[in-house]
Amino acid sequence: MNLSVQLAPKNKHGLSLANPVMTASGTFGYGTEYSHLFDIQKLGAIVCKGTTLKPREGNPQPRLAETPCGVLNSIGLQNIGIEAVIRDKAPVWAGWRVPVMVNIVGIRVEDYARMAAKLDGVAGISGIEVNIGCPNIKAGGAEFGARPDLAAEVTAAVKAATSLPLLVKLTPNTADIAGVAKAVMRAGADAISLINTPRGIAIDVSRRRPLLGNVTGGLSGPAIKPIALYMVYTVAGAVEVPVVGVGGIATASDAIEFIMAGASAVQIGTASFTNPRAPLDILEGIEQFMKKEGIEDIAELIGAGRR
């Protein structure tokens, strides 16, 4: 049975995954945190925590609120910064079989380019996920991903700074998801992942004020799955590069829906908090489904549910 997928067919390095199950940025740390709970080397790829040029302290508490089948978060990109990722994390990843991608997010276009240049040629880093849709930073983030021209500008700047495979992660907080997808593809994205979290809020009724310290947050978890699936379906029909589906995937059946909608791979996010083994359980569930259905190659499933 062949589960392998190629996410960057036109890139000189390529981005070959042993299977289509990845972890979503911000929900799997730097990979090391889960390594004593299950064999993370069995996964298709790991995407690390969203990384900025300088370390960030993040947003005020509270940063989390659970909603029905969902989680609102306003972490605000607390992270160790690109230099620490290269110095402390990449050498660990270099010894791993599973490819690791670094998720980068900038306040300005040149932040993205500088981070991409620093990551170029670093052992242990197999690709970059360009986050143009973090909804938590007022100064940048969502604005880049909301408009095709800005999204393309960021993508082109990163492309010019590195030869690493580029996955560009789209935000659902835009009026034109297909337009943004086409724009980043033309600007050099090797693949497109979607969706980042839709923006939401919660009100603390006893204190009569927004529950999250940052007022707004990003919604994740099974609550957003139909929205993510619709956007993956739409984008997969609009672009000629591989698409990676993310948003509320908690079971193998969820993952297969995204693959049938046109995704070449999937990312598991919030489900890892509920069940740290979720990525592995999902991979095993996909294998069982293929066995049951007599499918030899995962490629037979990609886009199989489109009409």
Binding site: G26, T27, F28, G29, E33, Y34, H36, L37, K49, E57, G58, N59, P60, Q61, P62, R63, L64, A65, E66, P68, C69, G70, V71, N73, I75, Q78, N79, G213, S220, G221, P222, A250, T270, A271, S272, F273, T274, N275, P276, R277
Partner: protein, 259 residues
Amino acid sequence: MRQEVASVTANAELMPQVHLMWLESSQIASPAQPGQFVMVRCGEDFEYPLRRPFSIHQQDGSKLALLFNMVGRGTHWLSQCQAGDELDLLGPLGNGFSIHPGSHNLLLVAGGIGIAPLVFLAQQALSQGQAVTLLLGASTAPQLYPEHLLPPEVKLVTATEDGTAGKKGMITDLLPDFTGWADQIFACGPISMYQTMTKQNFVTTKPVQVSLEVRMGCGLGVCYGCTVKTKSGLKQVCQDGPIFDLDDILWEELANGGV
């Protein structure tokens, strides 16, 4: 730290809205230390995506107990679990209390449900030959943790806000009478209790460890949901805590929602 499917052996309402649950969980119970916690998966499927963190209340061989307040949907679901049901636990997590080698007299201060981690601590301290005094406070008498569940060697002093049991007032009102005796102080309660303690002048003379509770996502240091600002920089409550030195936390900022 392990992920383990544990079976519920008992679950009953101990005080109004507060449940005591015992679980058979050999992999997590055995290595657990006082002050550490577990993350419990609640609900069927993914209805409640975030696990709930609970201090380990007691440990007995391969069994552990949780003491929890029914505050929301997840804990309400947990309260309905019955003996024989299985729960998915992650643990033991966090750093735990630290009893200094030279300490003989331990003063424990519990505000309401804050008794949860302190019974386990009292049991361990007594087994090591240390003396334990417990200052136990609640808003009313029925909300006081039952004395018969405490080790008999514990010296118990109680206070209630309405005066229906023990001394009338806040438990922190009693602190000045006992701090001279104590070598170390361990507290668990609401942030307002900790804020009161920081204003009491013994803080500078006696070491105080407190158990901190904030909203958590993963419990493993991955999501940065539980970050707090301390005098020594940003800390993750789930990994660097939940036990902190009282004077290390910037309480005013935390109470105001600041990181």
